[in-house]
């Protein structure tokens, strides 16, 4: 239940100064919830910012307070891990618009004290990055050794390089893109419509009510979850196998294992995520196009980022953010003379490969972070 979700206490800071947003609106004050791991060194030069994906959170390497599950990138971040917390001070902040303690649609209105709901301004990926920069200012960290992110986290890493090129040494962008394609937007719109068509959504003002749009949010998650997996992976995992039965029911129960799996994924998601936050963050991703302010020339976004070292990684089975999108970024980087690395890794898990066991990715991440340090 969303109401329980919002009762969790998170480590956070509130910056009282107004934050100007891409929409032209501004937030009077911004709360940023974050986690950090490993010690900051004396000259504050070993900070690594990890940016999380759409439904991720700041609990990158610690147990999730709602589900109790290990951090979403615990395999990558920790002592002796590729992002080594014995060497690096790792920071991960809940993105603006999300539901794990940072300012978002569940934030109370300063005047009325009631949750803002849809009165929360629409935010962008660059707005998320601006909020992260406020957090770093608060922490006294002028420059990051690296910004690392997969999927929407990669978009933030790119936006970091475009917005604050002097504040980062390198950007590691995994399974990501510099824009949302028509297909990306289309899938997100299905999810948003599922939420908004749920009568329990109540125009976004469900926080004080006993009803929340969990059915709509679950369907949104089910549709999105398909896009995170490869066809090959789904076939291998489920095929046409039936769920706990020997014959088809000739009804609309979850006959197939894949149906049962998706229903479970959808339902479990509603325990840890807020429907309005899902609307806002998917919108931010859909609006993302780094080339847009530069007359469609992506190179324009990186004109000031020549001294940032970039590493891009794609996966051969990722059809959500395919290799062609990473190549497009590499071409733009090469045209401005930035040092760029790129490789397409082979992994069977589709888009989700960046979160899973791909040993080559571990080596790449360690290498990309280690050099020049």
């Amino acid at each position: 239940m969303a109401s329980l979700l919002h009762q969790i206490q998170h480590q956070s800071v509130t910056i009282a100064a107004p934050l100007a947003l891409d929409s032209g609106q501004s937030l009077p004050a911004t709360t940023i919830a974050y986690q950090s791991y490993g010690a900051l060194n004396a000259d504050k030069s070993n900070a690594v910012l990890i940016c999380h994906a759409l439904t991720g959170d700041q609990y990158v390497a610690s147990d999730h307070p709602a589900t109790g599950k290990p951090g979403w990138w615990a395999r990558m971040v920790g002592p002796g891990k590729p992002i080594d917390t014995d060497r690096f001070h790792v920071i991960c902040a809940n993105v603006l618009g999300s539901c794990m303690g940072s300012s978002g649609p569940a934030t109370p209105d300063v005047a009325t004290g009631a949750p803002l709901g849809m009165a929360f301004p629409v935010i962008t990926i660059t707005d998320m990055v601006r909020a992260q920069a406020l957090l770093l200012d608060h922490l006294g960290i002028a420059r990051l050794h690296a910004v690392v992110g997969g999927s929407m986290g990669g978009m933030q890493a790119l936006a970091w390089a475009a917005t604050y090129p002097q504040r980062l040494g390198s950007a590691l962008v995994i399974a990501s893109a510099a824009r949302h394609s028509a297909q990306n937007i289309a899938f997100h719109e299905v999810g948003r419509q599922a939420i908004m068509a749920d009568p329990d959504w109540q125009d976004g003002q469900y926080y004080g009510s006993t009803r929340a749009p969990t059915k709509g949010l679950a369907v949104a998650r089910m549709a999105a979850h398909i896009t995170y997996l490869s066809e090959e992976g789904l076939t291998e995992k489920f095929g046409r196998r039936l769920q706990a039965r020997d014959i088809k029911s000739f009804g609309f129960d979850a006959d197939f294992q894949v149906e049962s799996y998706l229903r479970h994924q959808g339902l479990a998601f509603t325990d840890r995520f807020d429907a309005n936050a899902y609307l806002y963050i998917t919108r931010a991703m859909d609006y993302f196009d780094l080339a847009d302010p530069h007359d469609g020339r992506l190179a324009g976004a990186f004109a000031r980022a020549k001294d940032v070292r970039f590493t891009l990684v794609s996966f051969d089975t990722d059809w959500l953010y395919p290799t062609s999108e990473s190549r497009r970024i590499v071409q733009a980087l090469q045209s401005v003379g930035a040092a760029a690395s790129f490789v397409e890794l082979s992994a069977p898990f589709g888009h989700d490969s960046f979160l899973l066991d791909v040993p080559a990715l571990d080596r790449l991440v360690a290498g990309a972070l280690g050099s020049g340090f």
């Binding site: 071409q331 090469q334 040092a339 080596r363 290498g367 280690g370």
Partner: protein, 194 residues
């Protein structure tokens, strides 16, 4: 591990501070030697396992194909382009040489000399495509689709008006004289410029 002799010659000839693109850089062996002497060296490599190994060493290497992806680099983006042991594997070596000298004013090009006496002898006496130390793969599976000799390469650069600044000839991993290099060089390294 000692650097391959042709790579050692190139590493020695590039001055510190230069900006270099190593085309077909493998797992970054030459890039590592260049970086150690203060050269800003980057790479392009087709094999993802090699690219992964190079990035894991902290290098800037892009997975790509020398036949197509050199086009993504701007004119004179580098001081030197390097193409070692790769020319003979490209679809159109002439166009690759043009691209090298578009993205850099100078290029190192090294290749196994198909006119080396062992190759000539093997073809003459056996009547079969030679399999030698530097060309170890049988004709049907060799990546070397455009065999080239020292004289062929000189003809190509002459026809293109490209200047040959320096040539190194190797035999048995050791420098060999330029005299009768067409016969005696197993391997040639050219430094060419606009």
């Amino acid at each position: 591990m000692a650097l391959r002799p042709d790579l050692a010659i190139i590493a020695d000839a590039v001055p510190p501070g230069a900006r270099v693109l190593d085309v077909g850089c493998g797992d970054g062996e030459l890039i590592a030697a260049l970086r150690a002497k203060g050269v800003d060296a980057r790479g392009l490599e087709i094999d993802p396992a090699n690219v992964t190994a190079a990035i894991a060493r902290g290098q800037s290497v892009v997975q790509g194909d020398a036949n197509r992806d050199l086009a993504d680099y701007p004119d004179d983006a580098f001081d030197y382009a390097i193409l070692s042991q790769t020319l003979q594997t490209t679809e159109r070596p002439d166009r690759v040489v043009d691209e090298l000298l578009r993205i850099a004013p100078r290029a190192f090009v090294s290749f196994p000399n198909f006119a080396h006496w062992r190759v000539r002898l093997a073809l003459l006496w056996n009547g079969r495509m030679p399999v030698t130390r530097l060309l170890p793969v049988a004709w049907y599976e060799t990546p070397n689709i455009h065999h080239v000799t020292v004289s062929d390469f000189r003809d190509l650069v002459r026809a293109k008006g490209i200047r040959v600044e320096r040539v190194w000839h190797l035999s048995g991993d050791r420098p060999t004289s330029d005299a009768a290099a067409s016969w005696r060089a197993e391997h040639a390294i050219f430094l060419v410029s606009h």
